[in-house]
């Protein structure tokens, strides 16, 4: 009961802060709202009995990614975002209608949705016995070894790309 209450508190704050990221014209305020959003997600991970993921979320996203954003904002001296001035004004009603259709469509389908399949192997008692980090580590190196390795290739590509696109020969 109390968990459900906290779940709703965290989710509502997460959604509101995510909207603030989009609607704020000031990049610094956007980045700070993003921190708030990531922290709420971390809190939801704790509710899901996954303190490891919560810690990673805080370290990587809040600690590293957003700080990088703020550095970029600082170095580039970004002013208020002005993309809105270039948008076609006549398209706005169409966008609003499309978003509403998507919203209503998804909402009605979500209300119809039920989870009937049996719950997975990783129940609360299992995790308490084995430990979250151990379970996660074992899974990453057994069942999910393929995605794990492909992600390492992906990082290599991203590294090459970042150097390639920013490097200037003097």
């Amino acid at each position: 009961m109390i968990e459900t209450f906290f779940f709703y508190v965290f989710s509502v704050i997460a959604v509101i802060s995510a909207l603030m990221v989009v609607f704020n014209r000031d990049p610094v305020k956007s980045a700070v709202s993003l921190v708030l959003c990531f922290l709420q997600v971390a809190a939801i991970y704790v509710l899901l009995r996954s303190p490891f993921l919560a810690a990673v979320q805080v370290f990587v996203y809040v600690g590293a990614v957003v700080v990088l954003f703020l550095f970029v904002v600082m170095v580039l001296e970004l002013k208020k975002e002005r993309l809105g001035e270039y948008l076609h004004v006549r398209q706005k009603p169409l966008v609003v209608i499309l978003v509403l259709v998507l919203f209503v469509g998804l909402g009605s389908l979500i209300l119809k949705g039920r989870i009937i399949v049996p719950k997975g192997l990783y129940s609360e008692s299992f995790i308490l016995k084995e430990g979250v980090t151990e379970t996660l580590g074992k899974l990453l190196f057994t069942k999910y070894i393929f995605p794990f390795e492909v992600v390492s290739l992906l990082l290599l590509v991203a590294l090459i790309g970042a150097i390639l696109l920013t490097f200037k020969k003097e």
């Binding site: 979500i110 949705g113 399949v117 997975g120 492909v150 290739l153 992906l154 590509v157 090459i160 696109l165």
Partner: protein
């Protein structure tokens, strides 16, 4: 489940090739040598696909090796060889050319190969991102050219949005079925009763929408013209022939294999997307002045044709998709080889500059002629047979209105391709100078033309084989 690492030997060879190229790039100053090594590596990987790889599952069910995967892997390696060869001509035009281009192409091929044998949403998603992120970098590769950078940025933003749709959809499917493996999802949905609920429907719609980005169809088609025009020409060919085929193989696996038992839910949806894409792509191709832009819009139209095969949700549809992709590969490889060579000589991609090409180089003109007419679907070329089978597949499933739209749009596409051909054959050339070709280039061009004609005149063995392997998808 066991590891079965020998199933991904071709990909391991390709990864080794990529790493070798990274190291060799430091020592070899003549990048054409790097290119040759790359082509050799691709050929070896292709041989290893043909020989010695058994069918089955690998890496705890994340990867499947079946004949569909074998066909697509060979297709991607063929694409890779053509792109590498185009790179040789493109190289000379770019100042400060770097060997990383070839490395990234190899990584893109690896991504496509993994995509074609993914059997789980997680392995599918990471392979897709490997491919897509490599393509973002390749699109913006000629960073001195503002068009290329603009194209890269547009591709990145649309791609990120589409990825969001895709991930959201995957999470709904996982929520509804409790599994990410294609086989397991199919089993749960076939289990009856509770099969389809709201979550699966949402997941289905969002995944289809997310994948339309890869195949460049409505509603995520907007990037196509700008990216095709702005990207380096070999990359455009990779996007057209490789990335689109990769999108279709996963679409087939997700829709036919994993969600095949609920096909009533998505058949009409796909048919509508297909019809809108057909009309939009072919109509917008008509006023284009730039050949790459023209092929981009025609490519949106092609995505519409290929979606007809998905909409039919049958073995015939799946096999005709494979046939279409094979002929499409040859048409794209031929015409883009001509575009690269021609822009190397004349420095222009405008359709008007192609005037009188037949007098400057009959072989280039003939390749363009055959390639474009095959894209338009003129008998007796491969493209005609491919379209014919697609129409047959949708008519068989009762979607006659879709076939009618397809035929009308085929006539429209004939019009804008013939406009290009008219310039090539009937107009007077501005520059009279002959274009000389290397012997290997001639060989490549002859190979492409013979392949297109052979697929059109004698499609029997291929269609039989495709029907046979398409059964494995269902």
């Amino acid at each position: 489940m066991e590891l079965n690492i020998n199933i991904i030997i071709p990909e391991i060879i390709l990864i080794a090739l990529a790493v070798c190229l990274i190291v060799l790039d430091f020592f070899i100053t003549d990048k054409k040598k790097l290119n040759t090594i790359g082509i050799c590596g691709l050929v070896i990987a292709g041989m290893s696909v043909l020989l010695g790889v058994k069918n089955g599952f690998a890496l705890s069910g994340m990867i499947i090796q079946d004949n569909v995967a074998v066909f697509f892997k060979l297709l991607f390696i063929l694409v890779g060889i053509y792109i590498f060869y185009m790179g040789r001509f493109f190289e000379d035009r770019i100042k400060g050319w770097k060997g990383e281009f070839y490395i990234l192409i190899v990584f893109a091929i690896i991504g496509m190969e993994f995509l074609s044998s993914s059997y789980d949403f997680i392995s599918f998603y990471v392979s897709l991102e490997l491919l897509t992120i490599t393509l973002y970098i390749l699109t913006a590769y000629t960073k001195d050219n503002p068009h290329s950078v603009e194209a890269g940025l547009k591709y990145l933003i649309t791609g990120a949005l589409a990825s969001g749709f895709l991930l959201y959809g995957i999470s709904f499917i996982y929520g509804g079925t409790g599994s990410t493996g294609f086989g397991e999802i199919a089993g749960i949905l076939r289990g009856g009763g509770h099969g389809l609920n709201g979550f699966v429907t949402i997941g289905l719609v969002l995944i289809i929408l997310g994948l339309t980005f890869k195949i460049s169809s409505i509603p995520f088609h907007v990037w196509t013209p700008d990216v095709y025009q702005g990207a380096p020409t070999p990359v455009t060919a990779l996007l057209a022939a490789g990335s689109k085929a990769a999108g279709f193989v996963v679409l087939m696996r997700v829709l036919f294999t994993a969600l095949g038992s609920v096909k009533e839910e998505w058949m009409l949806f796909i048919a509508v997307i297909s019809a809108v894409t057909l009309i939009f792509g072919n109509m917008s191709a008509m006023p284009q002045k730039n050949i790459k832009r023209l092929i981009a819009y025609a490519g949106i139209g092609s995505a519409g044709y290929l979606l007809m095969g998905i909409a039919s949700a049958s073995v015939l549809g799946a096999s005709s998709i494979m046939f279409y992709l094979l002929t499409y590969l040859f048409s794209i490889a031929g015409s883009f080889l001509v575009i690269v060579i021609f822009s190397h000589v004349s420095g222009s991609d405008e359709i008007d500059s192609y005037a009188g090409l037949s007098r400057r180089s009959p072989l280039l003109a003939a390749t363009m002629f055959i390639g474009l007419l095959s894209l338009a679907g003129v008998p007796p070329l491969g493209g005609f047979i491919a379209k014919f089978y697609l129409f047959a597949a949708v008519v068989k499933e009762g979607l006659i209105w879709l076939a009618v739209i397809g035929i009308l749009m085929a006539i429209v596409s004939m019009y804008y391709f013939l406009l290009v051909i008219k310039r090539i054959y009937l107009m007077e050339p501005v520059v009279e100078e002959k274009i000389t070709l290397e012997p290997t280039t001639k060989l490549m061009l002859y190979g492409v033309n013979i392949a297109i004609i052979a697929l059109g005149v004698y499609p029997g063995p291929f269609t039989d084989w495709f029907v046979q392997i398409a059964r494995q998808l269902f």
